[in-house]
Structure formats: structure tokens, C-alpha cells
Symmetry: C2
Subunit: 412 residues, 2 copies
């Protein structure tokens, strides 16, 4: 099945909001061999929405729209859907009951605008929205389906996975199957990796394709495969994965699509180790990334955001002499931070960062982007200094990733 997505909202086109719905939907449909042909982002404007819908319906079997359904005056999607699919609007008792229930739970007062959420086009079938007030609406024309969903990401994710996708799967059966295998690779540039894999890539059978997805600090390498059955794809993918691993070697950190923190969590689990963080320039981002993972409490004890020198000394036991002699941004300080956080929390493994994220604070000897990091592990203490490009947010993000990857390399 070919799917198109239309993302509706002025806020996206002035850069106030980033669309994550289309990616969420893409991840949910690709396992069924369905292809997201394209995403069009348009204004809350009847003509633009209309044109995008007609164009998408001409190219795809399924069109999904997100956004443009709020109770306020900048939302005109429902009226446009009436003009595309015919008919007027009516008050839907089920939607109204859902709106009432949500308002009751949140302790909010209903009003006329809220009630307007329950008005739906005559041409649609209403699909439940368990988490919000805007209705999910299913339309059909000439055997094609259009489903209009709200723009709030967690509502869309839930409604699509729990209601819309099952109905679409029931409606459409599809013969072609797509599979992906992803490898996480580090310690090699994209172009050197491509050169290394050039012969392997040229020999790929029809229907198989290699994609390079460079991230900050590592590369995701993905084999895409399209065929008629899961079984035949799986056999070829197994063989290709085997030969790819033989070429890329131990630069492969994982044979599936995992974040660095997920790879680390698995190693800690496997080795029965606990960890803690001591962060200066990364300011809690490493801890945040670890604690986004469900079940991390078994291996993650916590940590210290040691932004000021006082906190480095008081909570982590970094010696005043070390900071005075080598500076707060030094491997010596990072080592004492990593060792200190193990002592303070009882963790087996400590990771520490101290650097200059910018835009200020750089010097000739330690320019912006200089980050010292240390790993205290049962196998010894390691430290390194890296020089990272980009603005503050990029330095913080990349320093966090590098520290996580260094810890993976030290522990695996």
C-alpha cells in the first residue's frame, strides 16, 4: 500500500513546532510492507489543504492527515473535508460524550467552543480518540481511504496504533513485504565505511539496498529488503548480515537499531554492573538519556550534575588542588569526578564529563567544543579529550553520545 501524510498547521511552517507524527506513523506502517510515499506540510488554509488532499489521493491508497482539529478559530480542516467528501456537519453524540468525560476527568469546565469539537462531517465514520477531544475521522472515496487525526503527538500515536492501523490492515491486504536490518557502527567515517563496503554493496541482490544514516558520533547502517515473503527475506538478510559483519568487524556495536544508551544498558545488565553519572558540561543529559529507558533503574543509580566547582568538590570529592592545577576542564578533574560518583552512589561504573559547550568560556588552549571525559570501570579508569564542532546544543548532545559510546567500548 502507498501512504501519503498531510501535516496541517501554520505553527509548523513558521518553525514553532516540529512534526514528529509522520515519523511515528512511518515506523508503524513499514513493518507491513507499506510505503510512506511522501509528507506534505501545509498551512491552515482551505485551498492548500484541498490541493494537498487531492494530490495525495491521486498518488496513494491511503491518505492520513494530522492537525488542524483544535477548538479554536485557526482550525478549518473539518470544513475543508466536507467540501472534499460532500455533505454538511452534525453533532456526534459519541464524540460529545468523550469530550464531556475528558473535561470531567481533568476538572475543566465545558464551553461552546469545546462542544464544537463534537461537530463532525456527515461523510465520515468516527473513530475513537481515547486521549483527546478532537475526533478521528475516516472517509472513503473511490476505494481510497483518508483518515483525519489530531495533531497532538501522543493522541495521534495512540489513535493510529490502537484504532486506525488495525482498521486499515483489516481493509487492505498486501502481498509485498519489507524488512530492515540495522547496525550501529562507530570509529569510521561515512565515506571510509562506504569504500570498505563498496564491493559488498555492488553485489547486493535485487530488492536489497544499503542506507547510511550518519548520527553524531556513529553511523546507523541499514539493509532494506523488499520481497514476497518474510521467510525468503529473512534467509537472505541473515546471510548478508553475516558477510557485512565479517567486513566491518568490531566497529559494529550492535546488530539492531539501538541508541547508544540502550546498548550500554544491555551491557550493564549482562555484566551485572550498576552505573552513575557525574556531569558538568553535559548538564544532566547523559542521566536524562539513560532514564528515558524503561527498566533502567536496575542498572542506573543516579548521578550528580556538577555544574559549579563547589558541587564538584562537595558532592564528588574532587580535590581543590586538581581544579587549581589542571582546571575544571581537564582529564584529571574528570577522572576524580568519575571515581567520586562511584564512591558517592555505590555504583560500579562512573562516567564523567567536563568541557566547554559555548558560546562563551573558550580559550586558545581549550576552545569551545573541548570536552574531557572519564570512565571509572572495574577494568580500570580511562579518560579522553575530544574537540566537538557545532553550537552549544550540538556540543552537549555529541559529548553525551561520545561518553556513552566510550563507556560501551570500555565495558564490552
Amino acid at each position: 500500500m502507498d501512504v501519503s501524510i498531510i501535516v496541517i498547521g501554520d505553527e509548523l511552517l513558521i518553525g514553532q513546532v516540529v512534526d514528529t507524527n509522520s515519523g511515528d506513523i512511518a515506523r508503524m506502517i513499514t513493518p507491513y510492507g507499506w510505503t510512506l510515499k511522501g509528507v506534505a506540510t501545509v498551512h491552515d488554509d482551505a485551498a492548500a489543504i484541498n490541493e494537498a488532499i487531492e494530490s495525495a489521493l491521486s498518488k496513494s491508497d491511503i491518505v492520513l492527515t494530522t492537525g488542524g482539529l483544535g477548538p479554536t478559530k485557526d482550525d478549518i480542516t473539518k470544513a475543508t473535508l466536507c467540501s472534499v467528501f460532500g455533505g454538511g456537519m452534525h453533532l456526534d453524540a459519541g464524540v460529545l460524550a468523550n469530550v464531556n468525560e475528558i473535561f470531567r476527568k481533568r476538572g475543566l469546565q465545558m464551553n461552546e467552543l469545546t462542544r464544537s469539537q463534537a461537530m463532525v462531517p456527515d461523510a465520515c465514520r468516527v473513530i475513537p480518540n481515547d486521549l483527546g477531544t478532537a475526533p478521528v475521522m475516516w472517509f472513503e472515496r473511490d476505494g481510497k481511504i483518508l483518515v483525519s487525526m489530531p495533531g497532538v503527538p501522543f493522541e495521534t500515536r495512540h489513535a493510529f496504533s490502537h484504532h486506525v492501523l488495525p482498521l486499515l490492515l483489516e481493509r487492505f491486504s498486501d502481498r509485498s513485504v519489507i524488512e530492515h536490518r540495522t547496525f550501529v557502527v562507530t570509529g569510521i567515517s561515512e565515506s571510509a565505511l562506504a569504500e570498505l563496503l563498496s564491493g559488498w554493496e555492488d553485489a547486493l541482490p535485487a530488492g536489497f539496498h544499503l542506507a547510511y544514516l550518519p548520527q553524531a558520533g556513529y553511523i546507523r547502517l541499514r539493509i532494506d529488503a523488499a520481497g514476497s515473503s518474510h521467510d525468503s527475506l529473512t534467509d537472505t538478510l541473515d546471510a548478508l548480515s553475516h558477510s557485512l559483519k565479517a567486513i566491518v568487524g568490531d566497529r559494529i556495536l550492535a546488530g539492531e537499531d539501538l541508541l547508544p544508551e540502550q546498548i550500554l544498558m544491555r551491557i550493564l545488565h549482562k555484566r551485572n554492573l550498576t552505573m552513575a553519572t557525574a556531569e558538568s558540561c553535559t548538564g544532566g543529559n547523559i542521566a536524562h538519556r539513560m532514564t528515558m529507558l524503561p527498566g533502567v533503574s536496575e542498572v542506573f543509580k543516579g548521578g550528580v550534575v556538577a555544574y559549579s566547582n563547589e558541587v564538584k568538590m562537595q558532592l564528588l570529592g574532587v580535590r581543590e588542588h586538581t581544579i587549581a592545577s589542571f582546571g575544571a576542564v581537564s582529564e584529571q578533574t574528570a577522572i576524580e569526578m568519575a571515581e567520586g560518583v562511584c564512591k558517592a552512589t555505590g555504583a560500579d561504573v562512573g562516567v564523567a564529563t567536563s568541557g566547554i559547550a559555548g558560546p562563551g568560556g573558550g580559550s586558545d588552549s581549550k576552545p569551545v567544543g573541548t570536552v574531557c571525559m572519564a570512565m571509572a570501570t572495574p577494568g580500570g579508569v580511562f579518560s579522553t579529550t575530544v574537540h566537538l564542532p557545532g553550537d552549544r546544543s550540538r556540543v552537549i548532545d555529541r559529548a553525551s553520545t561520545t561518553a556513552l559510546l566510550q563507556l560501551v567500548l570500555a565495558l564490552r
Copy 2:
């Protein structure tokens, strides 16, 4: 000027990467009164890219493409640009020198694939890419401009702001001007706010428009204005802002487009206070959000990620009796964490969170989404318990935002 953006890359349409480039560009062009008409996301596929380019050129004065320029085989944008604008490709000495220099700086080895980055269509003018190897390419046809840029966000942001936008501004002069005023509002639902502002909104003069941008925990309210001069817009916007403030009252936390952490940083600066964080369920996210702000070190001392009970007791001095009697997820524990982190770090203000982010760990009395938070301030200690909807990442994000907003309300 009407602008269209084409985002190129298979990785976007299977949901492995989220497009942030179009939002970055949108934020840079809107101050000049230029309108981003739409964004089309397409596969690394010649026909799809071609169609998107022709459609965008027919609707817009300026077309910007991002992505599809890497050295590896999945990138076919350059060949497609040759087919659209005519001519073949040649090796550009300037681009090659830039690629060489970047490889030298990073200590990487050049190879044939890397050299292919320096091949450019004959029809283009090459624009510098200071931060990466892929060329930025400027094309013209029938008075319209197409600029092809790389997909890596920090390269695109830099190349667009430093080179492409200045050239476009030089090329096009435009009479219409757009301005925005944004207000950050909390403590009221979107529909209640819309009802409150209904009369005010109906009376808006031509060219003025109110947009509601609900976030998790607050609402951004934006007045959009289009007119012929900055001066006339500014006067009317001042008057409208004044009357809007009179209606919405102290639910307005800021009269400009600021994140909760930015509002908090300003208040801390103004009151000459320092803060520290004690995070259990938010796992470092509040500290991370604070430390993403340049200059925060003047008001932010650091904090403790107290994920385990041992860390809560050892580093924050939470009493074992408190945890045993009330549980780790309790306002009593949060209060001791907030007070403890002030004592441990010497900060004036402490904020603490303890909750159940899920998916596991919930109970009948404390279901997933229950978050206790406490604020220790010079004006006293405050605590509250909230029940947040959504999955783990949403609970963490929303709990962080709520804690930041509570602290703003307590300190302002």
C-alpha cells in the same frame, strides 16, 4: 516572497530521522515577511524529487532543498538537479579544497567517494559550506531560485543563515512585512482561553490573526500581523498586546516566546538567586533543560539525579523514615530532596521531582503518571502532586515542564 522546502531522504519516510531543517529555515525567513508555503518530504528517488521540484517551482519564488547530498550510493539529488536545470557535472576545485581541509582537520583519510562530493552540476553556482563536505548549490530558472543544501542540521543552519539567506535577501526585495508577538500562558485550558478571548479576537483588524499553540503544561498564544511597514504594525501590536494582557491577566508568564526554563532563568537573574535540582523520575531532564541555556552557570549550581533510594538518602539527606512511611513517591520525600539539594550545593532554590514515569511501577494509589514535586525557595517550601497522561517520555517531559512552571509561579 513565497518559499517552498523539499526535504529529501528515505530515512525521513521510514521514521528514522525527524526533519528539523524546515523549522529552522522557517524561523529565519518569517522576520522578512517571507512565507513558507509548504514542505514536501520525498524519497531519494529521481522521479519523486523531480516532481517535487517542478511543483515547488510552479508555486514559489524560492525553493530550498535539504538532504540527499552525502557521498554514498543512496544519494541521487545532484543527478536529478542536472536533469532539471540542464548540463552535466564537473569537479569543483573550491569544493575539493574544502573537503580536503575538513578531512585534514578531522584526521581522516580522503578516498574516491569523498572526492565525488566535489562533483557539482554545471548549471549551479557553488555557495560555501563551512562546516561540512557536501556543496551548497544555487540554481536559477525563469527568475526563480533553487538552492540545494545538505541534510545535516547544523551544516544547513549555518550555510543558510551565513550564506544563502543574505544572497536571497540581496536578490529579492519585498514590500510586505510580517511580525509576531508571542505570550506564554498557563493555568487555563485552550478552549477556556479561546472563549475568554473570543470578543477580542472577533475585533482584530484586517491582517491580524491569533494562533493558539498548546504545549504540554502551557499555551503559547501568538498574534500574527501582516502589513506594509514595521512601524505601523508595531503600534497596533503594542495596543493589541496591552488589551490582551488586560484580559488574560497574570496567567501570562511571559510576553515573548520563551521556554519555561528561559523564563525561570530570567527570574533567578533578576532576583539574584541560584538554583539546584534534585530529580528522581525526571532523571536529569530539568538540569539538562536548564544547562542548554547559554549563561546559565550564573544561576544554576547543579544537582543530583537521585534515581535510587540510596542516592536520595546519601547525597540529599532524605531520611529513611520518610521513605519508609510515605514512600519514595511522596510530597514528603520531594520536600526533603528539595531542601537537601539546597544544603548540599549551597543553592538558594531547590526543585525536586519523584514520580512514576512508567510503563511499570504503578499501583492503585499511585498510578503511572503520578509525580510529586517540591520547591524550596526563600519564601518557603511548596509541594504538589500531579497526575500526567501519556507514555514514559511524555510523563518525564511534562513533569519537567510542570516543575519549571511551578518554580516560576513560586518565585515571580
